[in-house]
Amino acid sequence: MSTSLSLVVAAVDDTVPGVRSVRLVRPDGGTLPGFTPGSHVLVTCGPPGTSAVANAYSLTGDSVAPRAYTISVLRLDAGRGGSRWVHALATGDRVEVTSPRSAFPPVLAARRHLLVAGGIGVTPILSHLRSAVRWGRDVEVLYAHRPGAAAHLEDLRDLAGDALTCLTDRTALGDHLERRLADQPVGTHLYTCGPAGFMDTVTLAARRLGWPDERIHVEHFGVDDLDPGESFEAVLRASGRTVPVPSGTSLLDALEGAGLSVPNLCRQGVCGECRVRVAAGTPLHRDLVLSDAEKAAADTLLCCVSRAADDRLELDL
């Protein structure tokens, strides 16, 4: 779904222990697509062209007509290897990223923005703060971090001034959070990003203090991206042919690749054009078109997004 961008590492910054900031630019130095504050890119953590893990990293820089995308990555030695790969990058290296995707935007209609960051979760909060300053929004920032390990602390201080509170002690954090959540003008929206346990603490406190869900925003990386799915085989009843559908390839793409023509429009599971009849096997529905009853009937599926629940699906094609 996303366009791929081939970028070059322009600079790396290892000032904060364990965190590396990487500045990525276009090889020709041109302007990159702008993005909504809070957006992330998927970074292919390996040499271009290889099947490496893709990690989501928030963009921390300016969001209008950016000359660079900057990401800050915490090194996780027990992770899948993506952060270790970023920490080994050098100036001039090529990096493949998707175009930015927005899943944690500021609410334009908010009267005030309360930004609560935990550790490396400061990255999308920083881009929120930049846009708040650009547009003169009323903003308050709480930043919880371990003593001495605060990524982007100078950036936050420059942008937020007195509106920034840093907390390094768990008890102090709980007390301060409680006090600040209880005293926000009506119309304030809350945004939080950090470790899952940290975000749970923040959202639970907010709910207990009567914050409606509409005002609570939590960063979930890439929730609107469909996962690549398991591979399966599609058997075409008319011809008896078997079309393999690898993980990461849609059934529609596989059918088209096999020379079949299936009517389609949106390729996103919305328009309903690519509905095909299922003769045998169980569909794994991932569309927005079929009703619950139609999905339960299991006799059709939208082949642009839906797949097989098992390893085989027979189609009336």
Binding site: A182, P185, V186, G210, E214
Partner: protein
């Protein structure tokens, strides 16, 4: 043909009187009641609140608007507001509360009567207050056109949309608008 109203911008409480419950998650509540009947509804709403509440009983919409403004200026997130009264009062009060930054979840609306509506004329923008209903016809106080009350409510203006009922009647100009019987338009064709 009118669609089912739940498929439109017309809230259920704009069609028949309502008594919503108070959100138990609230940490503070205010009820703004216009008219004596609304005070009963507001009292019931506040009795269901877990948090401390305040009741403002007011005689007119203008007074109530001023109270809503003052409350909004002081309120903290966690607060819930009830506006109660005749439909002609609660629609503008809801509009003011939403403009002040409340989301639907923070706002309860109770109607004590829905007999009168506020209708914005699509053609001259005047607002007519009159006893009518969705599908009814009212003369516009601004341009005197006979307006069909559309099943379309503006949350920002707090009014129904009205448009000329007989613009497609051949010879309207010669005959004048008074010739047409209200009844034939009341429930739509």
């Amino acid at each position: 043909m009118n669609p089912a109203l739940e498929l439109t911008s017309v809230p259920a409480w704009a069609v028949r009187p309502s008594t919503p419950p108070c959100d138990p998650a609230a940490t503070a509540c205010t009820a703004v009641a216009v008219g004596a009947e609304a005070v009963d509804v507001a009292t019931t709403w506040l009795a269901g609140a877990v948090a401390p509440g305040r009741l403002h009983a007011l005689a007119s919409t203008d007074e109530a608007l001023a109270v809503v403004d003052a409350e909004l200026a002081e309120a903290r997130v966690g607060w819930r507001l009830l506006v109660a009264g005749p439909l002609t009062a609660v629609l503008p009060l809801r509009a003011r509360a939403l403009a002040g930054g409340l989301v639907d979840a923070e706002l309860s609306v109770a109607t004590t009567t829905t007999d009168d509506l506020l209708v914005t004329c699509a053609h001259c923008a005047a607002v007519t207050s009159a006893p009518t209903h969705v599908g009814g016809v009212v003369p516009c106080v601004g341009c005197d056109r006979r307006l069909l009350v559309h099943h379309h409510v503006s949350r920002r203006q707090g009014t129904f949309l009205g448009y000329q009922v007989d613009a497609e009647q051949w010879g309207t100009e010669q005959w004048g608008t008074g010739q047409w019987e209200t009844e034939r338009w009341e429930e739509g064709a």
